[in-house]
């Protein structure tokens, strides 16, 4: 009965490869997010989707492409991986704040290591 799940938990890959991280939530939330936490523990929001529509798209390289096939899923695809992409990526979900939602529920994180 996991609320927000991510797969894989660990991902080790070579530079130049393409990889995807999947996120699923069973909370019935409308809004989903991707965050990046670097090796210094700095956190940055990358994307936010509401009802499958992109609402926040921070300044991230266009090698990163989120895809939301439905409200319960927000996947992150990364092309041409670079060393600097190594980080922990967190998915989260919430009800939209415009309808009174606020608390975000985070997935366990995916630790991406690019060699």
């Amino acid at each position: 009965d996991t609320a927000v799940s991510q797969t894989p938990k660990y991902l080790v890959t070579q530079m130049g490869n393409d990889k995807s991280i999947k996120c699923e939530q069973n909370l019935g939330h409308d809004t989903m997010y991707w965050y990046k936490q670097d090796s210094k523990k700095f956190l940055k929001i990358m994307f936010s989707y509401n009802n499958k529509e992109l609402i926040i798209n921070e300044t991230v390289p266009n090698r990163f492409s989120p895809k939301s096939p439905d409200k319960a899923h927000l996947n992150l695809h990364i092309n041409s991986l670079e060393l600097g992409d190594s980080a922990v990526y967190f998915c989260a979900s919430s009800h939209p704040w415009t309808s009174g939602g606020d608390t975000q529920y985070f997935g366990p994180g995916t630790r991406l290591t690019v060699l």
Binding site: K41, L43, I45, I56, Q104, Y105, F106, G109
Partner: protein, 108 residues
Amino acid sequence: ELKVEQNPLFLSMQEGKNYTIYCNYSTTSDRLYWYRQDPGKSLESLFVLLSNGAVKQEGRLMASLDTKARLSTLHITAAVHDLSATYFCAVEADKIIFGKGTRLHILP
């Protein structure tokens, strides 16, 4: 440009003591978040503060917001070892910006 500053970045304190973590931000904000992160773990949402004067409490943690001063505080009362973690504030305006986090270590 929205900037968020947390202080202190590191804090080591004895059990039973009180302390406050500060979160300053540079522009008007729609809402302010506090999160907790244990080492190697995910983030846990603690509080969301929406309006000036908002105060929320959960156990030994209390968060407040002063939008005029652009300041939020996270107050820890009678700290216990289980509260050892990293605490982040995040401010939402047209984007969400996180502070650098406060690593809190509570000595038994």
